[in-house]
Symmetry: C2
């Protein structure tokens, strides 16, 4: 029996989740959220997270510099810590490296990791190295969040507004340009995605009900919030922020830019929900309302667009 | 320029270590020790660690069951936390899986991870999954140690006795048997190595000066202690504990069992040093004196054997 026959990546995650047992009451949330939430003193939680990049799955040296790969490996994990309202503090990195790799390539990866660690003041405190057929970078990250600022996928409430922190679809269209060997401004968005750590900290201080970062497309992220919060959602297709560059680049590919926003990869923007009474404060931070939370029985609907919602990106397709 | 030309794996680790910067005074030890040591409240340190297994580098499904691989991935990290005197508490696991892998194999890996987590009461709190050409398991582990019980490689003092917790060389000879398709009792020691967590906790409570686990052979580990402690060592070749099984299995391969003990792979026994006045207490735990610490100027010497010491196992040779 193969991975596909148990429902692909998400089926596999469910299977693993069901097998895991916990041995401590200090685990507030484990497998399944952006990061694990662990008790840590009186006022804080520890956030513990791992995320991996594999050559020819998540990146290719045909498109990326090795520095960009190192940067993305850190950014991906920072984005998840940010989505929970926390601040990253420590990281350990496992590197799988082909035997004949050039030292320049390794130096690039390390420089990229260090650049991002410097930007976010993350302490790189350990690692492991092995030979492997493909380049593989597995980052584990530890962060901290004040209990009062913790943001979860599961906190959305009916009548909440759904917000998006910025342009989506650019990373997805950038990847497609690269694959089809077409030039465009979105390519850099794919190669050097930026998490929204600073903004996330501001949002949790204002007071939001749920949050997630866009790693599998807006549609997939809203589905996660709805599933975890046991609510439904109406998404306004025409309100999803998409940049002019993304629209132009999608045009070059004869594709609908909305598809990249809904189903594209790692934009690292934030999707969050908040009570309507927070709208004025939140609007100061250039965030966009893209929908609202409804009762679970009303499901997840995309309006102003005739299409049915599909799921997000899968590594095993 | 390739990895070999900068001194292989150890040269690469030095290169990376030199590039890393820290941004917090909470880092007591970072890249280079068995685990990072991080400030954590008044009486404890946090221990943070990652270790990876890659198919056909660290294991082969020709020899191992997938359950044994999962077990070893956890045990390897537990052994490092143990070597610092700590207790593991949380783990996150990144899995790289070939697209056509059988679900049974994945289930085996997960069962192995869960078995070891149950044994040590480690909470498996997250992970990441990707497709990859080879099976890859990257484990990150968080543990805790009371400040007073922290054991380091760097604490050895001249005149300390050097101890070994149990039989060495069995994992190395087991691997060689597998490679040469010869049967022997050491094979299980290679496939299911056991860390010495319980013993390590007893040792730090008695009071030792330095400790390390045997992952690259006794010689390599003593060299690490000497380098980090700025001391030398005399190792009594004839005192290094080697089981009858290891001796018999080495004979089948026409090899000297001492070579496996000195330079073999992951036995996960403990090498530690302590003041002579602790000898009586330590001896109760069935540990063996295998040498003593001397001044740095006297170097690291193996006595009762005419050979010069070589270095440990390298993944990039």
């Amino acid at each position: 029996m193969k991975i596909k026959s148990i429902g692909g990546e998400f089926g596999l995650i469910c299977r693993i989740k069901n097998k895991v047992k916990l041995y401590s009451k200090d685990v507030i949330a484990g497998v399944g959220d952006d990061a694990a939430i662990l008790k840590h003193g009186k006022n804080h939680y520890l956030l513990f997270k791992t995320g991996m990049l594999v050559e020819n799955v998540h990146f290719s040296l045909k498109y990326s510099t090795s520095k960009q790969i190192g940067m993305k490996a850190i950014e991906k994990n920072v984005s998840d810590i940010a989505a929970m309202g926390g601040l990253p503090k420590y990281t350990v990195v496992s590197l799988g490296l082909p035997k004949n790799i050039e030292i320049d390539v390794i130096d690039g990866v390390i420089d990229g990791i260090n650049k991002k660690c410097r930007q976010y003041r993350i302490n790189s405190v350990g690692g492991d190295i092995s030979s492997s057929k493909e380049i593989m970078i597995s980052v584990a990250m530890l962060g901290f969040v004040e209990k009062k600022y913790l943001a979860l996928r599961s906190g959305a409430k009916a009548d909440d507004l759904i917000f998006c922190s910025g342009d989506t679809g650019s990373s997805g269209v950038g990847l497609e340009l690269l694959k089809q060997n077409v030039k465009g401004k979105s390519i850099k968005k794919h190669l050097e995605p930026q998490s929204r750590l600073d903004l996330a900290r501001k949002l949790v201080k204002i007071g939001i009900n749920s949050m997630i970062d866009v790693s599998d497309g807006v549609a997939s992220e809203i589905r996660h919030i709805c599933n975890e919060s046991k609510v439904g959602a109406v998404i306004y297709a025409d309100k999803i922020p998409i940049s002019q560059n993304t629209i132009q680049d999608a045009k070059k590919l004869s594709k609908n830019p909305l598809d990249f926003a809904l189903y594209g990869g790692e934009d690292f923007e934030l999707i969050f929900t908040a009570n309507k009474n927070k709208l004025k404060q939140l609007k100061k931070h250039d965030v966009k309302v893209i929908g609202e939370i409804v009762d679970k029985k009303d499901g997840v609907k995309l309006v102003n667009d005739g299409r049915k919602l599909k799921s997000g990106f899968e590594h095993f397709n």
